[in-house]
């Protein structure tokens, strides 16, 4: 009897446990359904921002005086925040309840099972003929294997387009060994430095942001007179000599000067011309080696500096490369070695997306290298066997992958920007090569006096195609050519300004002047600006097939450095002064 009572009590308990388990299950399902509904309604992630709210806020932006709109926006904002935090709490609590319900159900079932423990009847469970089961299992396994194979073939067929082996080994070599993950690619994207548009408004290095001598500026001074001071915002006397181009970023102009005594970087304010700071760049040669011999014409500061939003980068004929912040503190410095060069090192820094490209065509150890602007570390360097040159690397960004044109005597290289790998080599011009090339679209043109002018067209994955050669007439000695809309403009050291046709290289027009040009001509606001090295007469021409001279602006002192065009001003480094020209 007692036994029966106990059994009955156990049975009751078991029923209770089972009931509890079922209730918990129903509860869990209800919570799960509610959560799912919420999910379905507002998706995986809830945010405060909503289209309605954005519209209301936009309305406030457009009519800031409309009090009703403001009130509405605030009310909606309040509501949105409420809803956001409420639904957060709702979900959090929901999940908690879900898990609790699950645990309760599990506990209930477990208890019920323990209380009503009945050992399953083993009869009939154990197979009388286990071999049969084994045989079936073997067949099933083999069948599964066949199914897997079919599945794999389907996968192969579906996904084969993206898996074709790569034929172009040159392109492939450009990839890093381990393919970049998405994230790394993005980092690379960020590493490319300031946004292109921002860069376009600055003068980060020689011959402007595109390094082609052509600018996107729409307004530029037309008339001024340096001898009388009209159209000149300010001019300041330069403390030391040098023929490098000023680099300009926002409101700062950077100038490098160099003498046997000291190599310096100066910073001036664009508004007032006030000198903001001056920094001495100490010699990198620790061994008190003698400074390299340079000609007077070249000097120690013939290479133009480069700059970006945080830094200015300077290089001197002594082989010293340094980065300064915009306050004049040296951030890093690197000694590249003693330039072995008959005239002196004159190749300028080329700034390209957190990289400085340096053409180091010296007698010994010639190379092209890329230096990280952040750390001063060498990213890549490619040795070269070429004669001396004074030209600067130019980056063509118009193609799929940016290509660096490294231009020297009888040998111009196309180098992959990312890796420094030499893609091709052509023989462009001979002689002592100082002018850089110019480019537009996929065409580039090189010219050097006593040699020739030559034009090439880039071919993806192949050597560039030579378009024509022009060997008559004078060609530039120092100044780089510039091209726009199918016309090439060159200025020579004997005082000519000549326009050629890009189609065939034939001369379109020619003007002769008294004094020769060293500064590279610049095209700004659709006009060609050229300034000579003796009297410093700024000549302005209309671009086009007529070649009308529209202004003659005397400076009163010779100019060797290529002028910088930023905003609506021209910054000119004369032989004695730094000028800010705004025009009459």
């Amino acid at each position: 009897m007692d036994n029966k009572k106990i059994i009955a009590r156990y049975e009751l308990l078991r029923q209770c446990a089972r009931g509890m388990a079922f209730v918990a299950l129903v509860f869990t399902f209800t919570v799960g359904t509610l959560l799912s509904l919420d999910w379905y309604k507002s998706g995986q992630s809830i945010t405060v921002r909503s289209e309605v709210l954005e519209r209301a806020l936009a309305n406030v932006r457009d009519n800031p005086q409309n009090q009703a709109a403001v009130e509405l926006a605030r009310e909606l904002d309040q509501l949105a925040r409420h809803t956001y935090f409420n639904s957060m709490t709702f979900r959090q609590n929901g999940m908690m309840l879900l898990v609790l319900g699950l645990i309760a159900a599990a506990a209930g079932f477990g208890l019920a099972w323990r209380l009503g423990l009945q050992i399953p009847d083993p009869r009939g469970i154990v197979s009388a003929n286990p071999e049969k089961g084994d045989k079936l299992a073997v067949r099933a396994l083999l069948g599964a294997g066949v199914c897997l194979t079919v599945f794999a073939v389907i996968l192969q067929v579906r996904h084969s387009p993206a898996t074709k082996p790569v034929a172009d080994r040159a392109l492939r070599a450009g990839l890093t060994n381990k393919a970049l993950t998405n994230g790394q690619q993005h980092v690379c994207a960020c590493m490319l430095g300031p946004k292109k548009d921002e860069l376009m408004e600055q003068w980060p290095n020689l011959r402007g942001p595109t390094m082609s001598g052509r600018t996107a500026i729409e307004k530029a001074p037309l008339k001024w007179d340096g001898t009388k001071g009209s159209g000149i915002k300010w001019k300041v006397e330069l403390p030391a000599s040098g023929s490098s181009t000023p680099a300009v970023w926002n409101n700062k102009i950077f100038i490098t000067t160099g003498s046997v005594k000291a190599r310096r970087c100066y910073c001036y304010d664009t508004e007032s011309g006030k000198q903001l700071w001056m920094t001495d760049i100490p010699d990198g040669t620790k061994s008190a080696e003698e400074l390299p011999q340079v000609t007077e014409d070249t000097g120690f500061a013939a290479s133009s500096p480069a700059c970006d939003a945080d830094r200015v980068y300077v290089i001197y004929g002594t082989g010293d490369l340094a980065a300064l912040d915009h306050s004049g503190n040296i951030v890093w410095q690197r000694y590249l070695g003693r330039p072995e060069n008959s005239y002196g090192h004159a190749s300028s820094l080329t700034y390209q997306g957190e990289m400085l490209l340096i053409q180091w065509d010296q007698d010994e150890d010639a190379k092209i290298m890329a230096v990280n602007t952040k750390s001063g570390k060498i990213i890549w360097e490619t040795p070269r066997e070429v004669g001396l040159s004074w030209s600067s690397p130019i980056v063509m960004t118009s193609c799929d992958k940016p290509i660096v044109l490294v231009h020297a005597c009888d040998s111009t290289w196309g180098v992959e920007l990312a890796t420094g790998k030499k893609l091709w080599e052509v023989n462009a011009v001979g002689g002592e090569v100082a002018p850089a090339v110019t480019w537009e679209g996929d065409t580039w043109v090189a010219a050097n006096c006593y040699s020739r002018m030559i034009a090439f067209k880039l071919k993806p994955g192949a050597d560039p195609e030579q378009l024509w050669i022009w060997e008559d007439g004078n060609l530039p000695d120092v100044a780089s050519p510039v091209m726009m809309d199918g016309l090439i403009y060159i200025v020579t050291d004997s005082g000519e300004v000549i326009c050629h046709d890009l189609k065939d290289g034939k001369e379109v027009w020619l003007k002769e002047f008294e004094d020769g040009f060293y500064a590279s001509p610049i095209i700004a606001a659709g006009r060609l600006y050229a300034v000579d090295r003796e009297k410093g007469v700024f000549r302005v021409f209309e671009t086009g097939r007529e070649g009308k001279e529209i202004a003659v602006n005397p400076m009163g002192e010779g100019v060797n450095a290529t002028p910088a065009f930023v905003g609506e001003s021209i910054y000119v480094r004369g032989s004695k002064h730094l000028w800010c020209i705004v025009g009459e």
Partner: protein, 190 residues
């Protein structure tokens, strides 16, 4: 009988050889993989120098409220009156009204100190980790606002969901005893 005994010993020996072999492989794996490691655990953190404020931290976290929050490196702050992390670029007025603030939840708190300076603090309970203020401050201010994984909230998944979707690989694993990458203390260069 003797044969069976022999068989048994042989089986046993083979068993031990196998076990020793597999045990050795496992031990070798552990030794090889944990060479040079300190033994401590690693936790997830955002490298603020890599972060591009894409907004995924707010929504990708497995937790309902993301473990990523905005922190303020006050040593770097300029106390600007016109804070680019606080005000919308086209805010009609420079006051604390909701329509002028970038922060959608009002988690960035602005307090006047003395002309012309204002102090900014983050209310972590309200912060959703969306990074809108960080974007403004990084692009146009001193960058003193930045995102960090808050370790009182983070559950340290082995495979962090945000790290998986982070477009700039800003999520890194750092030792548990130095679990923050505070921008004000980091060297400037990446």
């Amino acid at each position: 009988m003797k044969n069976e005994d022999k068989d048994l010993t042989r089986r046993k020996t083979i068993g031990w050889i196998l076990r020793a072999g597999i045990g050795a492989v496992i031990a070798a794996i552990v030794v090889k993989t944990s060479r040079r490691s300190s033994g401590g655990r690693l936790v997830w953190q955002i490298d603020p120098r890599k972060c591009i404020q894409c907004g995924k931290c707010e929504t990708a976290c497995v937790l309902q409220q993301s473990a990523v929050k905005c922190v303020h490196g006050i040593q770097m702050c300029g106390y600007c009156k016109l804070c680019f992390g606080y005000f919308k670029p086209d805010a009609p007025r420079l006051d604390e009204a909701a329509e002028n603030q970038i922060c959608p939840t009002g988690a960035l708190i602005r307090k006047f100190i003395e002309p012309p300076y204002f102090e900014y603090t983050v209310d972590e309970d309200l912060c959703t980790g969306c990074g809108l203020c960080v974007k403004g401050c990084t692009n146009f201010g001193n960058g003193s606002l930045y995102l960090q994984v808050r370790h009182d909230i983070c559950v340290n998944c082995n495979a962090c969901r945000i790290a998986e979707v982070c477009p700039s690989d800003a999520f890194v694993q750092v030792p548990e005893n130095d679990p923050y990458l505070l921008k004000e203390l980091l060297p400037r260069e990446t």
